[in-house]
């Protein structure tokens, strides 16, 4: 059996769903260990055991969060060496990919990102060129590093839960020396909506909103969805750049993507065409988005969206 190391970073009081997914995938590949940064709460430790982790590696230093990724990558690399892992799994977030990149060099390991499935032999499947191709890739090195996308498996606990042993690993001294230091951190205002990148439903608006995002936000709230936007809408300053979906923004693969007032040019398509179901509302019948929509409505979004929002509230009441 292979040894698999999963990196979990500062989960707080409970493990995120994406971490549970990584642990579930890890178990299908071999014996699981966890490289854990941050405070380890009892509930989290219990969950790690329930998901089959045999060991938890923790850094000797508690200031890894003060540096940009290089220090974390150095810690995970050391944990990988200690645990004899032949596969390391990290989240496919921008930070996760950056850690994966540095780990690859430190471990002389092939790195595969945007992974949507992993076979028992370590072959990773990923979608490339904005979802227009699916490729299978494999590391040719003894160790592989995989950055795995969220929402690709259903988390399952292990048949026999255990109590993982805790091992402290020394973080190499060069780690902080070659890292950029974070000197100030400012929390952004929380929207109360789910995170765009792993939301089950996304409602996105574009140029057709003409400055008023409220129909999109109200429909999103009725559905418990995240709010997304096209580049035209974020560039116009109608909504924060964090909401941008597309080639220069975030890539999302929700169960449902509702596109309102977005023409669906390739820039936007790149960020959302792997959504399971696409619904489009646009008053221009020629919009390219209708070529990929499962359900399209040619009409005025200022009529259609509020009507849908009311109807959802009525049915949910």
């Amino acid at each position: 059996m292979a040894n698999v190391l999963v990196f979990i970073d500062n989960p707080g009081q409970a493990l995120k769903k994406s971490s549970l997914e990584l642990l579930t995938i890890a178990r299908s590949l071999g014996e699981t260990a966890v490289a854990f940064n941050g405070e380890l709460h009892d509930d989290v430790a219990a969950a790690l055991g329930a998901y089959g982790a045999a060991a938890v590696y923790r850094p000797s230093a508690d200031d890894l969060d003060d540096y940009l990724v290089a220090a974390k990558a150095a810690f995970v690399a050391t944990a990988a060496d200690k645990s004899g892992a032949t596969a390391v799994l990290v989240e496919n977030s921008p930070e996760g990919k950056e850690i994966a990149a540095r780990l690859g060099i430190r471990l002389s390991a092939g790195v595969i990102t945007d992974v949507v499935a992993v076979d028992a032999d370590g072959t990773a499947h990923k979608s490339v060129l904005a979802g227009s191709y699916t490729t299978a890739a494999k590391a040719t090195t003894p160790v592989s590093v995989l950055a795995v996308k969220a929402n690709i498996v259903t988390p399952e606990t292990a048949a026999a839960p255990g109590t993982p042993e805790t091992v402290t690993v020394e973080v190499p001294a060069d780690a902080a020396a070659t890292a950029a230091r974070i000197t100030a951190r400012e929390q952004k205002v929380a929207s109360g909506r789910p995170d765009l990148t792993d939301a089950r439903i996304v409602v996105a608006g574009g140029r057709g909103l003409d400055g008023d995002f409220s129909p999109v936000e109200e429909l999103a709230d009725a559905l418990g969805a995240a709010v997304g936007a096209s580049r035209a809408a974020t560039d116009a300053g109608w909504i924060s750049h964090d909401a941008q979906v597309g080639q220069t923004g975030k890539t999302v693969s929700p169960q449902l993507y509702i596109s309102a007032g977005i023409s669906g040019a390739i820039q936007q398509k790149a960020g959302m065409q792997t959504a399971k179901v696409i619904v489009a509302v646009n008053k221009d019948a020629e919009s390219p988005v209708f070529e990929i929509a499962d359900f399209g409505i040619i009409g005025d979004l200022f009529q259609v969206l509020p009507q849908a929002t009311e109807e959802i509230k009525k049915r949910k009441a």
Partner: protein
């Protein structure tokens, strides 16, 4: 008097994302026949130009070197960079590089950066936030790790002062201010500036600038360390995803909002 800067901007020629893109050949690599300067690299180039212009430009000894790796087509990205205002162009090209993954690419680029720092040290390596084709975003981080340099990713502002950089960085739930000593690798977002277009003067001036071509031997890399042979990953198969087909399209007759909800209910998405 501000210190002078020597900045390398990594530029890449990518297939134009406005058109359909394809994978081909044994290694399932990207077709680059119709390629352009990656749009996201223009922000890095603009950031570099602004930094040197604040220090008296090339006349005061500042340099912005556009570095690209790849076959003949890569020269197009360098040429465009020279027209926009880069002071020098360097093209790392070698048949052995074909099919290099991120690990092999970063190895070759690290060697090129060291080579270019031979006469006077390189202060900054700037990149775009991602390439618009491979999208793995691995190369800049691997380059930083290989060179033993700090990296600041997703910089939405960048200042250089007294041998240090200060950048603002937007990370999901929070914004950060980060500092690092030079030299450093920095990737910038499309929020950092408004890239300039090449003007007539720039296009004429670019004709007088030459592009230096470097081979693997020039930068001291053995061909076995790069290309398919030197890569740590291999693509074993590639399948074109069946194109999404259009579903039901209706025209609103006053009840489309209700029909939308009916559709969601039928798909069990409510």
């Amino acid at each position: 008097m501000e210190e002078t800067l020597k900045i390398i901007v990594l530029v890449k020629h990518v297939p134009d994302a406005q058109f359909d893109r394809h994978l081909s050949g044994e290694g399932h690599t990207t077709d680059r026949d119709e390629s352009i300067l990656s749009e996201l690299d223009e922000y890095a180039l603009e950031a570099a130009l602004q930094l040197i212009e604040a220090r008296g430009g090339s006349k005061a000894g500042n340099k912005v070197i556009a570095l690209s790796m790849g076959p003949a087509g890569a020269a197009n990205a360098i040429k465009k960079s020279l027209q926009i205002g880069a002071t020098e162009g360097v093209h790392l090209t070698d048949d052995a590089l074909a099919g290099s993954d991120a690990a092999a690419t970063s190895l070759a680029l690290a060697a090129a950066v060291r080579h270019l720092g031979g006469d006077s040290p390189v202060d900054l390596v700037l990149t775009g936030m991602a390439s618009t084709d491979g999208e793995t975003s691995l190369v800049p981080a691997q380059l930083a790790e290989r060179l033993g340099l700090p990296q600041v990713t997703f910089a939405s502002s960048l200042d250089v002062d007294g041998g240090r950089i200060t950048a603002r960085r937007d990370a999901g739930t929070h914004s950060e201010t980060v500092e690092a000593a030079l030299p450093a690798v920095v990737s910038v977002t499309d929020q950092i500036n408004e890239p300039r277009y090449p003007n007539f003067k720039g296009i004429i001036a670019a004709k007088r600038k030459s592009i230096t071509t470097l081979s693997l031997a020039d930068v001291g890399v053995d061909p076995s360390q790069v290309g398919h042979a030197g890569s740590w990953t291999t693509v074993t198969s590639a399948e074109e995803r069946p194109p999404r087909t259009a579903g039901t399209i209706i025209t609103d007759e006053g009840d489309a909002g209700i029909k939308l909800v009916d559709f969601l209910a039928a798909q069990k998405l409510l």
